[in-house]
Structure formats: structure tokens, C-alpha cells
Point group: C2
Chain length 299, copies 2
């Protein structure tokens, strides 16, 4: 299946080191997004203002907020140089009934890893607690019960996400689901939160490195379907609270620095859908209603 | 309990007519928010730009987005005329450990009504379907299982919300929970969504009336605790998808016109917490994991 192959290829491309991560992100930028050097040079010159927040908006609103239909640079009504195609038949990209137009919706189910041993010495020792393993079983059960045909299960390479993903995959046996790991999805400091908090103060260098890496993860995994994709797809991504919250803000085109205004239970499901028009909907954030209340944690 | 009395008093004040609704909103504006005539005159003159979106932000961010700690005009560090108190001991309103400072957190559980008969003739006939009644039982069960001490259950006066609320209340019998209804919470068109949609086009007059009414509901129900409140409170509000989504955007200080970027299942739980500092967190949006997948609907 070419869809799976593409994901695998991209994942294989992600290296563990910061250098490789930056190389991958830069390659994305050149290869798919039509923003060659500018994005990264602006990042260097103006570190406080990540380039991806200065949106090139298309649909201004009365209050100045807007929706950029070409946010993932895959808008079929837009030429590769960024200008609108002349033959665009409708001003409203929400009409997706036209023949020959892409019709497949991507569903992305973002799972926060379950509870882990916070006092472990380094990532390798920070494995799931007994409760954490139980939570992962419950998440796996729920994902199976939803009865969807999952295309792929991608997880962060951190121990707690890997372990959660392996437990979940046991519940999806008939699907021949492919398990892929990706360094880009590791936990980190995506962008300085607004309002600031006192109990969590990463160094500037953490924002500097993690910010670009997590943005690279967003651009890799959160986008509309390829025009050739015929059927709706369902993908599971097991990763981390900061990564998921940042993805949600970015996908909904809400200010990314607002990510800490949301909280996620361990093992919870956050569901994004992306339509061929580029419309995005958040169907649930932090759904953990499938867990008995005494199994809920947020650590 | 003075907290309940206050809610009751405010609810009793809300009339069914637009005139009373506006009067209530204007009274709120004078009484609590220190924005006397300006808000409403600006609304008249500049109808396309609701005054509440032009935030008087306090904590600017690198990208120009900010967090207004005094968003509900209840910041204890701010005098009633809107200026900062001289004796403010800390620049960071997140430190909530100081003695004598308010400590109670408000938890607001927003429930979307369950499935109803869409083909009914007017609100009175638009009652819950058999599945809708079953969903409300499941929501009630879950709320009871969470084991929280609920202070009040407020519901929109529309039939489907009233019926959902009554079923839910059966599951909270030991609590002596008070049921209140409120016209401000009825379904409506809060603000023109960005991006626009083709399948839903309310008239300008709907946005004009509903917009101010739903904003009035937001200001009435979504705010930090009174400084005198000693313990954390848990309130259930049973209302409607548009109202809940608008509340979430406003509470998180995300652009309110982004409300249609979210979707909510029937009977789902959306959980907001509001700290004494004015910090807000969304703990879950549209949690419906407590329902078997074959009971899930979004109508």
C-alpha cells in the first residue's frame, strides 16, 4: 500500500540526532512545502517569532483571525508556486462534491502514553507502571471496539510511548497493522506557553531544538490526504502530552503558544479529522471515558 | 449555600425575550465587569466586530497572542476601575499559595444534550429519541461514577436539554443537587464561523441576537470562583454544541470564530477548570468514551 510505504519512508528518514532531525525538517520544507530557505533563516534571525505562526491567511474574519486553506501546502486549488489556479471553479473550498476532486478524509487518533515511572533514571528506566500497562490495555480495547480499519500505528521512540503502542497493537491483531517509530514525536518543549507557568521552565535551548523538531513532526503527520488516496484513513499516533497539545493548536490554527491551556489524561484519545479541502475538526480532546474513574491519571 | 443562591438569582433574572436577555447582559456589564455603556454601543456601531474579541491583553507573546488574566473582570489584583493594585506582591499570577488569597477552583462540566427527533415541529416536539434517552442514562452514570460533589445542574430551557438534564439528575440522587434552567443557554448562532461553511447559513439577525445572548451566558457561567468560595466546586451545564464550542474558545482565549473547528458527540462531557488566578484549562472536549461505540451519535 503506497500510503503505508510513504509513511515508512518518511519515518526511516528521521534520525535520532538533532542534525538529522533538522535535515529532515529542511527536506520537508524544500520537498513538499514550497518554502525553501526563508522559513529557517527567519527562524535564525528572529528566534522569538517562529515563522509558522505568521500565517499567510486567506479568509480574513471580522476580528482579524483567519483560516488558511493551504496551511499544509497541499491545496489542490493552489499551484506549486503558491498562487491560486485560474480554473478554480468555486470560491468556497468547502464544497467537496465535484467529480475528480480528492474525497478521502484522514483521521488521526493521537494517544497520550499511559502512566510511567517518573523517578526512573533516564528514558530507559521510565517504563510504564502496572497501572500504566492497565491503562494501555483499556485504550487498546477502546480502539478495537471503535471498529475502524487502522492503516498504521506510529509511536514516539521514548520508552513509555513504545510500551503503550506495543500493548495497544495487541488489540488490533486482525488488521495487520504496521508499527512504526519516529524520533520526531519524542516529548519536548514545543513553544513557550502563554500564559507562562512557574513550575516548568525549560532552557531556551530546549525550545530552540524541540520547537523546530515538533513542528517538523506536525508537518510530517498532520496534513490532508494525498489526492490519490481513495478511502478515508485512520492512523494511530502514540506520543506525548506536549506534542499532542501543540498539534491540536496548530491543526486548528489556534495560537500555538496556547497549548498549555489544555490537559490530557494518560491513555486518552484525541481525534483530528482532515478533509480534502484542508478543513480540520477536533472530534475529541483527551477522551478517557472508557476508563473507570479510579484508573484515570494525568502524570 | 450562598453560591447556589447567587446562581439561582441570576438564572431567575434571565427572561425568555430578547429584551430581557439584553437587559440582563447590560446589568452584568454594569454590575461586575466595569464596562458600562461602551461594550454595547460598540456592538451597535460596529456590528461585524464584537467588542469582546478586542481583548485588553496583559501578557503579550512573541507572536502577538496574549493571555488576559483579568478576562472575567474578577482578578483580585485589579481594582474595580481596571487598574492594577499597588500592593500586588508578585508579577506572576500563577503563584496561588499566598495566605488569604482565593484558592477555590471552579470545575464546569459542559454536557451536550443527547440525540433528539430532528424532524419534530418546533422545540416542544424535538424530544429525545429512545437512543437519546439511553445516551443520557450513560452520561448520568458516568457523572455519578466520577464521584464528584456537584453543586448545581443548570440546563438550557430547550426540550432536548431539559430532558437530558432530568435523566442525568436521576443518577445524582444523594447529592440534593439543584436543577436550574436558563434561557441564555439555548442553542443558537454565536458568531460567524471561520472558515465559513455552506450547509449552515444563519441570517444576520440570528448572529445579531444569539451572539450577544450566548456571550451573556458565557459571562454569567464561565468565570473564576468568588474569593469567598472555600472549596473547589463542580457544576454541570447541559446545553448545546454551538454554545459549548463557543464557551471553549472564549474560555481558552482562542479566536471565538474558530468554534466550528470542533465537533461534539451527543451526551459528551467537556470539562473546563478555572483557577483563582484566572487560568483556564480544558481537561477534555467531547469525552464520550463511556458510551459503547454503537451508541455514539453527533446529530
Amino acid at each position: 500500500m503506497s500510503f503505508r510505504k510513504t509513511v515508512k519512508l518518511l519515518c526511516g528518514f528521521a534520525g535520532g540526532s538533532a542534525v538529522l532531525v533538522f535535515a529532515a525538517a529542511a527536506a520537508d520544507s524544500r520537498g513538499c512545502f514550497g518554502e525553501p530557505a526563508g522559513v529557517w533563516s527567519r527562524l535564525t534571525v528572529q528566534a522569538a517569532l517562529p515563522a509558522w505562526t505568521a500565517a499567510n491567511n486567506h479568509t480574513p474574519s471580522p476580528t482579524g483571525h483567519a483560516w488558511d486553506f493551504n496551511w499544509d501546502k497541499r491545496d489542490q486549488a493552489t499551484l506549486s508556486n503558491g498562487t491560486k489556479k485560474k480554473e478554480t471553479s468555486t470560491e468556497d473550498p468547502s464544497s467537496e462534491q465535484d467529480n475528480g476532486k480528492p474525497k478521502a478524509t484522514r483521521n488521526i487518533l493521537l494517544i497520550r502514553h499511559s502512566q510511567y515511572n517518573l523517578s526512573g533514571n533516564g528514558d530507559k528506566e521510565r517504563v510504564l507502571t502496572p497501572l500504566g500497562r492497565e491503562q494501555a490495555e483499556l485504550t487498546g480495547e477502546r480502539l478495537a471496539a471503535l471498529g475502524l480499519k487502522y492503516d498504521v500505528l506510529i509511536h514516539s521512540t521514548m520508552s513509555r510511548a513504545t510500551e503503550t503502542a506495543h500493548i495497544i497493537s495487541k488489540y488490533l491483531p486482525g488488521q495487520g497493522i504496521e508499527l512504526l517509530s519516529c524520533d520526531l514525536l519524542r516529548e519536548g518543549a514545543p513553544i513557550e506557553p502563554v500564559p507562562p507557568v512557574t513550575h516548568w521552565k525549560p532552557d531556551a535551548v530546549q525550545y530552540h531544538e524541540d520547537g523546530a523538531r515538533i513542528e517538523a513532526a506536525f508537518r510530517r503527520y498532520i496534513h490532508r490526504a494525498d489526492p490519490k488516496q481513495k478511502e478515508d484513513s485512520y492512523e494511530i499516533i502514540v506520543c506525548h502530552a506536549n506534542v499532542i497539545r501543540y498539534f491540536v493548536c496548530r491543526a486548528l490554527q489556534f495560537p500555538p503558544e496556547g497549548w498549555l491551556r489544555m490537559g490530557l489524561n494518560n491513555g486518552s484519545i484525541t481525534w483530528l479529522t482532515i478533509r480534502p479541502s484542508g478543513r480540520v475538526a477536533l472530534r475529541a480532546l483527551g477522551d478517557s471515558g472508557f476508563m473507570p474513574p479510579d484508573k484515570l491519571t494525568r502524570t
